[in-house]
């Protein structure tokens, strides 16, 4: 039983950076802008969080600085795709390479420095619930913050006027434009706001998982998050389940070896991506039959003001 709980705890720890990044990706893509720069943004967030933590010793400053730094770097993506109307795919890929290189360049001098990782804070009352309590409510502050972010993102997108506008510019930018809603402003807001959350996801690595800096610390998690946004069907609540499911796949790879269960690690490694393709295929077939479109209709399309398509 303890072993089972440990797997779930590890799944939440592995899933938390994915969750932040996925929420960020959901906000951006709901507004119609694909972000393939997640890996780069996470690395920028990770580096800045580590540097600020090292110098200030304050977790709050570290997380805030990571969000701001990734927000600023996302502005490049926003500027290139929205103002210059360049390809979102190319710009996002460039952002990944840029973020990887930038963090490597400035992280060069940090070898050997370490910080104190975030401590676990049991939530009184809740943490004594059997199983769920020790898995979900005996975690560090950033994990609790991620729960809050899921709720806030959901509320923002589906219950607020701002969110309605964000989703509208992702579905029908021309209509929004004719109604006097500024497509570019909302998209800019979504890309930068989403980028900030992605940066917080990166910050989880040096602040909780591995409390030091090493080049490429996220080891490709940004790409898993790119798949997760699709897997979650651009929905913050499904992102929560998806991130923990993918986190579980990462945690299981090691735990199955402990149990001596012979499943190829390469199978588990490809599982997140296979699941994404599978779910996408099944749900899309079902939705096509019912005539529902889940993907934001204008996702990835360049918006030209006042032109017909």
């Amino acid at each position: 039983m303890d072993f089972f709980i440990q797997i779930l705890i590890a799944a939440v720890a592995m899933g938390t950076p994915l969750l932040f990044a996925t929420l960020g990706g959901v906000i951006s893509e709901r507004a119609g802008v694909i972000n393939l720069g997640m890996e780069g943004l996470m690395l920028v967030g990770a580096l800045v969080a580590f540097v600020v933590m090292l110098n200030s010793g304050n977790y709050f400053y570290a997380i805030a600085a990571a969000a701001i730094a990734s927000g600023i770097v996302s502005m490049i993506h926003a500027f290139v795709c929205l103002m210059l109307r360049a390809s979102q795919i190319a710009s996002g890929l460039a952002l990944t390479f840029f973020g990887t290189g930038l963090s490597g360049l400035f992280g060069d001098k940090l070898m050997g420095e370490t910080v104190e990782p975030l401590a676990r804070i049991p939530i009184p009352g809740l943490h004594s619930i059997p199983i769920l309590g020790s898995v979900l409510f005996n975690q560090d502050a950033l994990v609790y913050f991620s729960y809050l972010c899921v709720a806030l993102t959901w509320w923002l997108l589906f219950r607020s006027r701002l969110g309605l506008n964000i989703r509208s510019v992702g579905e029908a930018p021309e209509v929004c434009d004719s109604l006097g809603i500024s497509v570019l402003s909302y998209r800019f807001f979504a890309v930068v706001g989403g980028g900030m959350l992605i940066g917080v996801g990166g910050a989880y690595f040096p602040l909780a998982l591995t409390p030091f800096w090493v080049d490429g610390i996220t080891a490709g998690r940004g790409w898993i998050a790119v798949a997760l946004v699709i897997f979650a069907f651009w929905d913050p609540l499904k992102a929560l389940g998806g991130a923990y499911l993918f986190g579980l796949a990462l945690a299981l790879e090691l735990r199955l070896q402990v149990l001596g269960i012979d499943i190829s690690p390469y199978f588990l490694k490809m599982l997140p991506y296979v699941l994404t393709i599978l779910v996408l295929t099944l749900v899309t077939i079902r939705n096509n039959r019912r005539g529902i479109q889940v993907m934001p209709a204008a996702l990835g399309k360049v918006f030209f003001r006042g032109e017909k398509h």
Partner: protein, 350 residues
């Protein structure tokens, strides 16, 4: 103003010319790396060797994070620029040979491979010897009688190291249990840390890492247990936990190889250098390591240095119970796929 600028340019150009003349006699050296120089492990160790060449007055350059599948292009670029090219990952083997054929005037040296041509050779170090010695310390320091190993990629080189660690630990504690968890990657700090945690949860109190980052040392420190570092000294990441590290000192090889090319005595071959050359070694020990244990380790070290003994030359029992009585050849060591007795985990693919 304009005069000043043109003067400055003139001076700079002259300096550049003079300095390039000064280098003309010495071969220039290029390096192709598989990881970033800041990985704190494998590539970092090679780059320390490159820096030693720079200090000795050789002109060098490097390209980092070169994917094995896309290495040919980079190796060719380096061959145009340099007299000697070192390629430092197993997967660069065939591309190195291909480029070597097209650039007969350049000398190529490939790390950890086994193919040669008239201007391309191989080099590697007997890291298993250093791992064996480090494990004597590990076995003596474990109170639970259990050592955990964070495995990287399941290839013969790493399996050889795991076996050397097990045999070394048995020198201090014949009943030691060794558990291995593979992360199936050379570098994934979060997973390395998770693997170390799982091994500690399972009862190990000394963790040996085969992966490139110091995440394992950190996790050991957090849990109040010991760790042994990999490839470079990882004590800076948690000196409370760091018993020692089995490290590469590539500078000894790089200096020798470059000098051999410089004076024309270089011949293609497969150099597998041992502990006696200094290419592998241990870093300083944790203050808690008792003197008696260090003496014991030094005794074994002396036997390896004098050539009286090597790790796999005096017989051992495989995990399945079969006896090996003869000394293993280099070829057999390079193709090792089985575990020795003492490992509680099963070898990958068995």
């Amino acid at each position: 103003m304009r005069k000043l600028i043109s003067k400055l340019i003139g001076v700079t150009l002259t300096l550049l010319l003079v300095s390039s003349y000064a280098w003309a006699g010495k071969p220039s050296v290029g390096f192709v790396y598989v990881g970033p120089v800041g990985d704190g492990g494998w590539t970092h160790a090679h780059d320390l060797g490159r820096k030693a060449l720079e200090t000795a007055g050789y002109e060098t350059s490097f390209v980092e994070s070169v994917p094995e599948g896309d290495s040919e292009r980079v190796i060719r670029k380096m061959a145009r620029k340099h007299d000697i090219v070192f390629t430092t990952s197993f997967g660069y083997m065939d591309p190195t040979l291909k480029v070597a054929k097209q650039h007969p005037d350049t000398t190529f040296l490939h790390c950890s491979g086994f193919k040669q041509s008239k201007n391309a050779g191989n080099y590697f170090g007997r890291m298993y010897q250093a791992k064996y010695l480090a494990a004597i310390i590990a076995g003596g320091m474990s109170k639970t009688g259990r050592i955990g190993i964070v495995g990287s990629q399941p290839i013969p080189e790493i399996i050889r190291h795991i076996n050397a660690i097990t045999l070394g630990a048995q020198q201090s504690n014949p009943n030691i249990e060794v558990e291995v968890l593979w992360i199936n990657s050379w570098f994934d700090p979060a997973k390395e840390s998770d693997a170390a945690q799982a091994l500690i949860d399972n009862g190990a109190d000394v963790i040996v890492t085969m992966a490139d980052s110091a995440a394992t040392v950190q996790t050991a420190k957090k849990n109040g247990v010991f760790a042994i570092g990999n490839d470079t000294d990882m004590a800076i990441y948690g000196k409370e936990a760091h018993l020692t590290a089995a490290v590469w000192n590539w500078d000894v090889y790089y200096m020798e190889a470059v000098k051999a090319v410089e004076n024309g005595s270089w011949k293609p071959g497969a150099d597998w250098w041992g502990l006696d050359t200094g290419i592998v070694g241990l870093t300083s020990f944790h203050p808690d390591v008792p003197q008696a244990l260090i003496v014991k380790m030094n005794k074994e070290k002396g036997k390896i240095l004098s050539g009286a003994m090597d790790v796999f030359d005096h017989g051992f029992t495989k995990r399945d119970g079969t006896q090996v009585t003869k000394a293993l050849s280099d070829g057999e060591m390079l193709g090792m796929k089985y575990y020795v007795k003492g490992l509680i985990s099963k070898a990958p693919g068995s």
